[in-house]
């Protein structure tokens, strides 16, 4: 009897202690809340020193400046998606893909597509690949004196880089791809399900909207994981608002995630129709202007990086690429991370990116 009573008292004491601890923690968090806006203002977009070396319409090319001059002559051109801003590649200290390449001795450049206006409404994939990308690559070749450039494409930028390489293999020395959608036959990703032509009339949508608004794209991304994004994430923030390290990472990441830009209507139409709905890239039938993309024409070394927990571009959409190209030197890495974690995650920064830099260094002049 006495033992039972003491067990009940022990339980009650544990409950009381737990409630008290939680009450103190809540007060501590509440005290940290007023400083949140100030911390939001301190978020920087990109950390590595850089200079603008090329401009065309809204496009800008940044060259990153390292402490030492580059060791490799072949320039490295980073290409990001048209959906978000590219500073995710250089998010913050200790979370920068760019810094790895710059410190590894590579002459590193990044394409910033800029924010399209209604004037860019009719720009097509052809304009981006055979126009802008071609001009940037020619500029880099001239600047470096090299015949070829190294390319790194992330997400939709990876698809653009793959298309560019297939059309102009003679200009690309090495190709690195991060979470790049190639095969859209699988319905594992929700976006592939939602863009089913039976339920999504892309022509009507683009004709009505013109450029695809950033808000629409942002909502679609949020809806991929609505519970995590709309409920779990704010709760997580409130519970860690007094944790400086967590808060800094969270604010940097959220600033970028909410910094969407509109996508030119025609590019959206082509991507939705030719890739998501008709899956033409894997069939070597995707039209880009007057050309047709044939992945078999890719012969350069390829490093294909995929994220195992990617909800935007599942592994099954990327891994097929290595079987479709003619390259002999090709490698795939499936990393335990999400779509963004692959670039800026702590483990990827520590273990993956040094490996990627080494891979590129071995194959560069």
């Amino acid at each position: 009897m006495k033992e039972d009573q003491s067990a009940v008292f022990d339980d009650m004491e544990a409950w009381q202690t737990s409630f008290m601890n939680e009450a103190f923690a809540v007060m501590k968090r509440a005290a940290a809340l007023p400083f949140l806006p100030e911390k939001v203002e301190r978020v920087r977009k990109g950390v590595t020193p850089r200079e603008i070396v090329y401009e065309e319409d809204r496009l800008r090319v940044y060259r990153y400046i390292g402490e030492k001059p580059p060791r490799y002559k072949t320039p490295l051109c980073l290409t990001f998606a048209l959906v978000n801003r590219p500073y995710i590649m250089d998010l913050k200290e200790g979370r920068s893909v760019v810094a790895h390449f710059v410190n590894g001795g590579h002459d590193t450049y990044l394409i910033d597509w800029g924010t399209p206006t209604r004037a860019e409404r009719f720009l097509t994939t052809d304009d981006y690949v055979n126009g802008y990308m071609m001009n940037v690559v020619n500029f880099l070749r001239e600047r470096s004196g090299e015949d070829k450039v190294n390319m790194l494409g992330y997400c939709m930028g990876g698809t653009l880089s793959t298309i560019f390489t297939a059309l102009h293999q003679n200009l690309v020395k090495n190709l690195i791809l991060l979470t790049t959608g190639i095969d859209y036959s699988s319905k594992e990703g929700l976006i592939s399900v939602w863009t089913d032509p039976r339920y999504f009339d892309v022509d009507k949508f683009v004709d009505t909207m013109g450029n695809i608004p950033a808000d629409f794209l942002q909502s679609a991304f949020l809806m991929l994981k609505p519970i995590q994004n709309l409920i779990a994430k704010p709760i997580n923030l409130l519970e860690n608002v007094d944790n400086e390290k967590f808060l800094e990472d969270f604010l940097y990441m959220e600033t970028w995630l909410n910094d969407n830009i509109p996508v030119p209507g025609e590019v959206y139409r082509e991507f939705a129709k030719y890739l998501f709905q008709q899956n033409l890239l894997t069939q070597n039938k995707m039209p880009v202007g007057r050309h047709t993309v044939d992945l078999r024409k890719i012969t350069c070394p390829i490093l294909n990086l995929m994220a195992r927990n990617d909800d935007l571009v599942p592994v099954c959409q990327s891994e097929i690429l290595n079987d479709l190209v003619s390259s002999k030197d090709k490698e795939s890495i499936i990393w335990p991370a999400g779509h963004i974690g692959l670039a800026v995650g702590g483990k990827a920064q520590k273990d993956l990116w040094p490996r990627v830099v080494e891979w590129l260094s071995k194959r560069s002049n």
Binding site: D11, A14, S18, V193, R198, Y199, F205, G210, Q228
Partner: protein, 196 residues
């Protein structure tokens, strides 16, 4: 009308299934509650379990034809509304003789077509140029070969001459290098440039 009603019922049934499935799975989460553990930790565990269940159920629901049908009708409605608003605005803008979005889009599209035609023409010209370049290179090589043959023939002719002549061409007999010199001078291919 019947079809619409049937669709509505199907969608309602899908939603109901989503919630009943979620609650069923949540009961599993709730059954793991242990009163002996600190309540805050337990509450967190419950919350995380419930959110996981809801996320899983929603992911399944967002793949159902009912959800996709709802998405389609919502988007169709939104686009129709946008179209109607635009039409009303156009009428007003026409009255005031103000250019509207479609006018600007039309101008941009016309510019794009001109630009596209020019670019295609340039691309065609580039193609023709590269074909011409190739042909010129081939012709140049052919000319070089002809020059070499002429040179060879001339050099072959020199010793015949030298045998009949006197001191002037005596070096020809000195060694094998001499005829080559003559060939070079005779062929004189320096002025011909390879096409870029």
């Amino acid at each position: 009308m019947d079809d619409n009603l049937a669709k509505t019922f199907e969608q309602a049934a899908a939603l109901q299934k989503l919630w009943s499935d979620s609650f069923e799975k949540m009961t599993h989460v709730w059954s793991q509650f242990s009163p002996g553990s600190p309540p805050v930790e337990e509450a967190r565990k419950m919350r995380s379990g419930m959110l996981n269940v809801m996320a899983q159920s929603l992911d399944e629901f967002m793949r159902t034809p009912q959800f996709l049908e709802m998405m389609k009708s919502t988007m169709d409605g939104a686009m129709q509304l946008k179209g109607m608003t635009r039409e009303g605005l156009h009428k007003m803008q026409d009255q005031f003789e103000i250019p509207h979005k479609e006018d600007l889009d039309g101008v941009l599209l016309a510019l794009r077509h001109v630009e596209r035609r020019l670019l295609e023409r340039i691309e065609d010209l580039e193609g023709s140029m590269s074909v011409l370049d190739k042909r010129a290179a081939e012709t140049n090589k052919e000319l070089e070969r002809i020059d070499e043959r002429i040179g060879d023939l001339k050099s072959a002719a020199v010793p015949v001459k030298s045998s009949s002549s006197t001191t002037d061409v005596a070096p020809a007999a000195k060694g094998p290098d001499q005829p080559k010199k003559t060939t070079t001078k005779a062929a004189a291919p320096k002025g011909r440039k390879k096409p870029q």
